[in-house]
Symmetry: C2
């Protein structure tokens, strides 16, 4: 066929050429990364996805190729034929994969020209993010971004192949689903055929994967886009990707066991990190007691200690009152923190206030005892027992929050995380996983005056806590589990309710009436009556997982075409205005005219 490339067939990727190829005739294609003239010779760094190789053009040897090379500019697309040769002595570049070789170019073709890019593609160049997003096609030429996306692909391959080896079947669930407003806001899609009706884009395939278990698919997986129309934080996107799994005839340990093996393989095969299995397990109650949060960062110690019992009778009213009113006093020993300045201590106090704490008490442990505004309120015995509880040593800083259980834990738990970074306590090379289990099933929503599901309404209570659904629902624990890595939740799931009576009782407790439940989840309730197996599952956030694996700072660095915090695509300018005709066909009207 008569085509552009004709008999020019690429033989190698630029970045894969090594000394083993010396002497070979090669044909390569790519982008002009840099061109420089050096004593009449022209050198071109030719770039493709796999890396960069040096081309050498000699005006005496190949005058035609040399004269064409003289006219190429940065980002031109060229094809070359030539021979691989060793670089002349002294010019070997050990930092480059291809640094031992260069290609003596015999023929050169310009496949396409290029305007001067609006910014340099050097990896570390400092360009406003909006410019990078507008010219995403250029930004994506940066090796760092490309490598992130290639690693992302590796993650999905490893996950898919491992799960397939464990008999999981990938089944596609629908994108045009029904709106069940519960939790986050749905993205809606007006129906043209059924006017006045709307589809919703799925927030997760939860109902469908449970249906697949009831259908007998036994083990389901899917790597799938999900959607939430929420106001975006820095690390959120309107569409995000989950590694979604569900298993029948499985208890919690079955799910966790398979999934930690998958995660370990991903870490091993992408970045070479060895993850010891089984991963640690910790109950929610223990996580809160020791770390104040349900996503503890185990890369460093500095655990929280509750000292309520030690200060219940103390003369320090702030502590004693907190305990008496049903709150707690929680403390933390910041090893070697006694050297902090007053200004630094004030900053810590401001920090805990973000989380609702009224203040932060502190004590510097000096050689001659406590140095603190609160020393005077405590007896020697109390001082001693607090020191013991916190294993205080000279040079330490002790910090205290007295407040409700929730505020004291969160404020001090967050402060722990903050200090971990600030004091450089964190081993950046470490990957510390922990399964957090036994979450509460329900929490009381004071405003709506009803219970809401902590995980979601289909999560099973722990077997021994089922009676609590009648007597004290808030105390019931769930068969839920989160996988936490270095203080980030990377996945979460649960064993589901497979008994339709228990499911109905859950809806009751959440103030969801029979009619409402039937409208929203009718098919699931009905399906549960036809022989539902015990089942459970989990979903991992792929975006965050890839962020951790690549060390990316922004979620936008692990997604090819991300949206801004205003949910727009700077490159394609989505969302955009639409024709009046399109709206007319849907019988909808927008009250706002686009600018």
């Amino acid at each position: 066929m008569n085509d552009i490339l004709g008999d020019w067939k690429r033989t190698h990727y630029c970045g894969r050429l090594t000394a083993a190829d010396i002497g070979k005739d090669v044909c390569m294609m790519g982008w002009v990364h840099r061109r420089r003239d050096h004593g009449g010779l022209i050198f071109i760094d030719l770039r493709d996805r796999e890396g960069i190789v040096q081309l050498a053009l000699d005006p005496d040897r190949d005058p035609e190729a040399h004269s064409k090379a003289d006219k190429v500019r940065s980002e031109y697309v060229i094809a070359i034929r030539g021979q691989v040769s060793p670089r002349p002595e002294g010019t070997v570049n050990p930092k480059m994969k291809t640094g031992e070789v260069e290609v003596e170019v015999r023929e050169l073709r310009v496949l396409n020209i290029a305007k001067t890019p609006p910014f340099m593609l050097d990896e570390y160049s400092d360009v406003a993010e909006n410019t990078r997003l507008k010219y995403r096609y250029l930004d994506l030429r940066r090796p760092a971004l490309q490598q992130n996306l290639i690693l992302r692909h590796q993650v999905t391959r490893i996950a898919r192949e491992y799960l397939a080896s464990q008999d999981f079947v990938e089944v596609e669930t629908p994108f045009l689903t029904k709106s069940t407003p519960e939790g986050a806001r749905d993205y809606l899609v007006p129906s043209r055929v059924n006017q006045g009706m709307f589809y919703a884009l799925p927030q997760s395939p939860q109902l469908f994967k449970q249906i697949l278990m009831i259908s007998g698919f036994d083990r389901y997986m899917q790597i799938v886009k999900c959607f939430r129309d929420e106001d975006l934080r820095a690390d959120r996107q309107p569409e995000f990707t989950q590694i979604d799994c569900e298993m029948s005839f499985a208890d919690r340990e079955d799910v966790m066991g398979i999934m930690e093996e998958m995660i370990a393989r991903i870490f091993k095969e992408t970045i070479g990190a060895e993850i010891a299995l089984p991963m640690a397990r910790m109950t929610y109650a223990e996580a809160l007691a020791r770390y104040g949060v349900d996503n503890p960062d185990l890369r460093f110690d500095m655990e929280l200690v509750e000292i309520s019992d030690l200060v219940r009778e103390s003369g320090f009213k702030v502590f004693a009152d907190a305990v008496q009113w049903g709150g707690i006093v929680k403390a933390m020993n910041v090893k070697g923190g006694a050297s902090m300045s007053r200004k630094e201590l004030d900053e810590l106090t401001e920090f805990v206030k973000i989380y609702g704490a009224k203040g932060l008490a502190w004590v510097k442990v000096n050689p001659d005892g406590w140095q603190s505004p609160i020393t005077k309120f405590f007896s020697e015995t109390e001082l001693g027992s607090i020191n013991d509880a916190l294993k205080a040593e000279t040079g330490d800083l002790l910090v205290f929050v007295a407040d409700s259980f929730q505020i004291a834990n969160e404020a001090l738990g967050r402060l722990r995380g903050h200090l971990g970074h600030k004091l450089d306590l964190i081993d950046k090379q470490a990957y510390r996983f922990v399964w957090v289990t036994d979450f509460p099933l329900l929490e009381w929503d004071g405003e709506a005056r009803r219970h809401v599901a902590v995980h979601h309404p289909f999560t099973a209570p722990m077997d021994e806590d089922v009676p609590l659904l009648e007597s004290d629902p808030g105390k019931a624990r769930a068969k839920a589990y989160d996988l936490v890595l270095n203080g980030s939740e990377i996945g979460g799931g649960s064993i589901r309710i497979h008994d339709s009576a228990v499911q109905s009782r859950m809806f009751d407790l959440m103030g969801i009436g029979e009619e409402e439940a039937a409208t929203k989840f009718g098919f699931l309730l009905e399906a549960l009556q036809y022989g539902a197996p015990p089942h459970g599952g989990i979903a991992f956030g792929l975006d965050r997982l890839v962020m951790i694996l690549t060390g990316a700072d922004s979620i936008r660095d692990v997604i090819a075409f991300p949206k801004t915090q205003k949910a727009t695509c700077m490159m394609s300018e989505a969302p955009g205005p639409v024709d009046e005709k399109q709206l007319r066909e849907l019988s909808i009207r927008s009250a706002v005219r686009p600018k």
Copy 2:
């Protein structure tokens, strides 16, 4: 942990038990497919995804298990422990994978009860499709449907692994994109943050995959949902899945070569069919000439023959006029068709009228010559030359359509397909692939009075036809290719335009002004200026491919949760009404109240 299954761990899938397992202690879980009592013994067919195994319960040996088994009903979920034993002589069932064995049950647990299903799950039971769709969770228990979806998973695994081995990277493209009304109707998603604006769900990732090539990703693939809000035909769904690919530095043969290898592997590894490579190639012009259509079914011969030159001067005015007015006369020899009744011939005439033909002339070749109403209009020489052209023999039926090029080809081409089925000419075991190439680039839209792209506006013209864009655009051929299997197009693609000047010229020809082009495709036009490599790609329709591989009659039998022709999900009742509050947040109003 205290969990439902406790120390009951499944050891085998029901359907995987074989004689090699005899003597083993096993634990299995599944659904009661059938239960029967036989002289005091109870036999249960236990079913899971992998198949069915027979359980035997002896009241003397295990009275407790037996008495529990006495109470189970169809579709109950049970777990059993027992020992695998050979079936007693004479009761081996060679039709079942597990037919040599049964499990002597020692312990039985009912994990869940089940109401009586609204229909039997036997594979061939005849249930109204709407009932099946409403109770999709039960319908999906049918082994045939499960096997279809498992095969679908195999297809995606094979495609992904093969393409990865060829250096394709899977990259996720966005679902919330910009509406570019061109071709089919978009599904719209109102934006809350940018009120008055809309996203559109992608009809294909076309623009994004080209951007990825311009970004240097070199080879992209994705198995991805696409969306079209069209009135549904029997074999269409509002959301459908593509195996989507794009390659840089590739000509047509590069794309076709890699893709046919992928398809051959899929056929070999799923259904064991050996596909000879390379697949046949045929130009669009040749396909029309020989088969009247651009998706020829090559499982049988019966080619079309143009006889315009032979009848140009004939006395049969219908033929002569057609040729004179610029049309053609096309004929086909239906071997052995002379035995057709007048009624059958009338049916054929009605058939071609569907495609706009005014009539169908026919000739029965009898031992004593033509038997036909039109015989008298032709000279002996003409009869002879037509017979020769059609290789007519005694017993054959010759059929003729005289009309415009387009109608004559389509009518007779479709009639060929119709007769292939009707006369049972088709080898049902055959898989006949053909690449159809060299499609026209543009076609004239008489109504809109402009050219429209036959493939899409980014398809490159053939190099030697570029001058035709100026002189006679309708004559220009495209670097487009479709893969046709047994008369169905299963994939199609093209080499794309990588030259921004040619791209602009294409928009010109299509009457898309500079401003409109900039609004709709501005970022692609701009990206083309920064060093776009020559590139091309293809997309395969996964749903149709799986239909062919499984022999499914309906697209709904290869999709877990399909929609009806009214684009509704009978199970979840999507689309549905939404809260007023949801619309208020989007500032949109629906003119239609849902019933």
